[in-house]
C-alpha cells in the first residue's frame, strides 16, 4: 500500500492570545494507527482542525506526503484522502443510512456530476459491504435521524470508510457508548487500520489499550510523551498532568 505520511512540526495555533497548540510535532506513518490522549483543553480537537483545514495554524508546517495542508480548504483536503469523524456524531438526519453512505462514496463531487449521478453496481456493492461491516444493513432505508447514538457513530465511521481515505481522523469514537458498543467500535477500527492510517483521539484508556497502538499524550497544546500505552502510563510527567489526578 502506497500511503502518504502525515507530518506536523512546530505547529502553533493562537486564539486571542490563548495557545491552543504550542509547537506541536507529530508524524504518522502510512498505515499506522495512532491514539492521541490528553486532558480536556490539551488541543486534541484543534490538532484535527488544523490537519483538516478548518483552522489555519499561526505558525508551523503541516504536510501530507509532499502537499502543504495549510494552503488547502476542507473540501480539497478531504478529496486528498484525509477523512474525519467528529466528536459529536454528525450524519445527515434527513437522509437514509444508504443515502448518507452514497454521499460519502468516492465519486466526482461537482454539482453537474451529482445531477447526472447514477449509482453504479460496484458502488452499490461497496455501500452494502460497509453496511455489513458496521452492522447497519437492517437500517439501510431508515432516516439517519432516528438511529441510536451508537449507530450514528458507526454510520459516521462507515461514511469515512466509503471515502477510502489514506488517513482517518477519529475524534472520540466511543464517547457515550455502552460497553458492548465500545467493543464493537474497537473491532471496527482495528479492521480498518492497516488499510488506512488512523489517528484516534480518545479519553477512554481501556479503549486505547484495546487498540494496541502507539500513543501520543498531549498537554497544553504540545506533545508530552509518546510510546506504547505502558510506556506513557508510567511516564512520571504524564502521571502528573493527566493520569495521576
Amino acid at each position: 500500500m502506497i500511503g502518504r505520511r502525515l507530518y506536523l512540526d512546530g505547529v502553533s495555533v493562537i486564539f486571542d492570545g490563548f495557545r491552543a497548540l504550542n509547537n506541536l510535532a507529530l508524524v504518522v506513518e502510512p498505515g499506522e494507527m495512532r491514539a492521541v490522549i490528553g486532558p480536556n483543553g490539551a488541543g486534541k480537537t484543534t490538532m484535527m482542525d488544523v490537519i483538516t483545514g478548518k483552522t489555519r495554524p499561526t505558525t508551523g508546517v503541516v504536510t501530507f506526503g509532499d502537499l502543504d495542508l495549510t494552503r488547502m480548504d476542507e473540501a480539497s483536503i478531504a478529496n486528498l484522502g484525509i477523512g474525519r469523524k467528529f466528536q459529536k456524531p454528525t450524519v445527515f438526519d434527513a437522509l437514509t443510512v444508504f443515502e448518507n453512505l452514497e454521499l460519502a462514496l468516492k465519486a466526482p463531487r461537482g454539482p453537474v456530476p451529482c445531477l447526472r449521478w447514477l449509482l453504479p453496481a460496484p458502488g452499490r456493492a461497496r455501500i452494502e459491504e460497509v453496511m455489513t461491516e458496521t452492522g447497519l444493513t437492517e437500517r439501510a432505508y431508515d432516516r439517519a435521524g432516528i438511529l441510536s447514538h451508537g449507530q450514528k457513530q458507526w454510520l459516521e465511521i462507515g461514511m469515512l470508510m466509503m471515502q477510502e481515505p489514506d488517513l482517518m481522523l477519529v475524534d472520540e469514537p466511543v464517547a457515550g457508548m455502552t460497553d458492548a458498543e465500545t467493543e464493537h467500535t474497537a473491532k471496527l477500527l482495528a479492521r480498518i487500520a492497516g488499510r488506512h492510517s488512523v489517528v484516534v483521539v480518545e479519553h477512554d484508556l481501556e479503549f486505547v489499550r484495546a487498540l494496541g497502538c502507539k500513543v501520543t499524550v498531549l498537554s497544553e497544546g504540545t506533545v508530552l510523551s509518546e510510546g506504547s500505552i505502558d510506556h506513557v502510563q508510567n511516564d512520571p510527567r504524564v502521571v502528573e498532568v493527566y493520569l495521576g489526578r
Binding site: T90, C114, M159
Partner: protein, 363 residues
C-alpha cells in the same frame, strides 16, 4: 384510516398528493375555457378569476424557486422578490419597445417616460430589447447573474443564516431605491405601463389573457418538474445535507460553495421567469415590486405551504394569495395582522405547513 406501518401510509399519501396535483392543474387549465361559457352558467369563470389566478400561478413559480433555495439548500433569501422584479423589468423593457410610435408623445423609438425626461436617444442597455428572444434571455440572465455575484461573494465568505438573509433583504431594498431614481433609465417610480402587445398579440383581450394564463401554467408545471428532478438526484441530497450540516459536507470533499451557488442561480432564474410572466398580465411594473415586503410574503407562502416539499410552496402561494384577495376586499385593514398571525401560527404549530398537515394524517 390510520396506517399501522409508516411506508404504506406515506406512499398512499404521496399518491393522493399526486392525484390532487394533477386535478388542481386540470381545474386551473379549464379556467379560460369555462370563461367562455355564458355568464349565467354555474360553471362560468369570471374574467377577474382568470386574471387573478394567472397572477397566482406566477407567484407559485416564485414560491417554487424560493423553496429550491430555502427548503433544500437552506438559503433563506429575503430578497427573492428582486429576482422576480428584475425578470419583470426585462419583460417590461421588451413591452415598452413594442409600443413603438403608439406612445402618447408618438416618438418612433423612445418610450414616453424617456421623451418626458428629455432623453435624446435610447440608453445602450435598452438595445436589443425589441427582440423577444433577447428579452427572454435577459429575463433569465439578469437575475441569474445577480444571484451568481451575490451568492459567490456570500457563500465563499461562508456567510449563512440570518446574516445572509439580511444581505438579500438589503439587496432588494437597494435595488428598489435605485429603480425609484429617474436617471436610472427605468421610468423611476412610475415604472412601465400602457403596454400594447406581445408577440403580435394585443394585450387586454380575452385571447391574450388566456394565452398568458396557459404560458404561466405550462411554466409552473415545467418549473415544478425541473425542481422535482433536481431535488430527486444525488445533487438534491447534497443540498439537503448542506442545509442540515454544511461543515460535514465540506469534510466529505464537496465544495459547498459551488453547490449552493448552482441552486441559488437556478432559483433566481426561475424567479425572473415568474416576474416576466407576471408583468404582461398585470400590465405594470414599478419599483414597488422590489419592496422587501414582497420578498417576505413569498417566504410566508413557502412556510405556510410547507418548505422543502416543492408542491407545498405552490400550494402556499395559492392559498395565502387567495386569502389575501378575499380579505383585502372583505376587511382590508385586517390583512397584515392576519398575515403576521398566519406566519407565527404556522411556525409554532405547523412546522411542515399545510402539506405536513395532509401527510401527518398518514403517520
Amino acid at each position: 384510516m390510520s396506517a399501522t406501518t409508516l411506508e404504506p401510509g406515506v406512499s398512499r399519501a404521496r399518491l393522493g398528493l399526486r392525484a390532487a396535483m394533477i386535478a388542481a392543474v386540470a381545474i386551473l387549465a379549464a379556467f379560460p375555457i369555462l370563461n367562455q361559457l355564458p355568464q349565467d352558467s354555474v360553471f362560468h369563470v369570471s374574467d377577474f378569476l382568470v386574471s387573478v389566478s394567472g397572477k397566482w400561478i406566477c407567484y407559485a413559480i416564485l414560491a417554487l424557486s424560493l423553496d429550491l433555495a430555502w427548503g433544500y439548500a437552506g438559503i433563506l433569501s429575503l430578497g427573492h422578490g428582486a429576482f422576480f422584479a428584475l425578470g419583470g423589468y426585462c419583460m417590461g423593457m421588451h413591452l415598452m419597445r413594442l409600443i413603438g410610435p403608439r406612445g402618447v408623445y408618438g416618438h418612433p423609438v423612445l418610450p414616453d417616460f424617456m421623451v418626458f425626461l428629455g432623453y435624446q436617444e435610447l440608453p445602450w442597455y435598452w438595445l436589443g430589447f425589441n427582440h423577444f428572444a433577447f428579452a427572454m434571455l435577459m429575463v433569465l440572465l439578469v437575475p441569474g447573474f445577480l444571484a451568481l455575484v451575490l451568492g459567490w461573494l456570500c457563500f465563499r465568505s461562508r456567510i449563512t443564516g440570518v446574516y445572509l438573509s439580511i444581505i438579500t433583504q438589503a439587496m432588494t431594498y437597494a435595488l428598489m431605491l435605485a429603480f425609484f431614481r429617474n436617471d436610472m433609465g427605468f421610468g423611476g417610480n412610475n415604472g412601465f405601463t400602457d403596454f400594447k402587445e406581445l408577440l403580435g398579440m394585443p394585450l387586454n383581450t380575452g385571447t391574450a389573457r388566456a394565452a398568458l394564463f396557459y404560458a404561466s401554467l405550462v411554466t409552473l408545471v415545467a418549473a415544478y418538474l425541473l425542481c422535482r428532478w433536481m431535488t430527486g438526484t444525488k445533487y438534491g441530497r447534497v443540498l439537503t445535507a448542506i442545509r442540515d450540516a454544511e461543515n460535514r459536507v465540506r469534510f466529505l470533499g464537496y465544495d459547498t460553495t459551488s453547490h449552493k451557488l448552482f441552486a441559488f442561480v437556478v432559483s433566481a432564474m426561475l424567479a425572473g421567469l415568474a416576474g416576466a410572466l407576471y408583468v404582461p398580465q398585470v400590465g405594470i411594473i414599478n419599483p414597488g415590486e422590489f419592496s422587501p415586503g414582497n420578498s417576505i410574503e413569498a417566504v410566508i407562502w413557502v412556510a405556510v405551504g410547507g418548505r422543502g416539499t416543492l408542491v407545498g410552496a405552490a400550494l402556499g402561494a395559492f392559498s395565502v394569495n387567495g386569502l389575501k384577495t378575499w380579505l383585502t376586499s372583505a376587511a382590508p385593514d385586517l390583512w397584515l395582522f392576519v398575515l403576521g398571525a398566519l406566519f407565527v401560527a404556522v411556525t409554532l404549530f405547523l412546522p411542515k405547513g399545510l402539506i405536513g398537515l395532509m401527510q401527518g394524517r398518514g403517520k
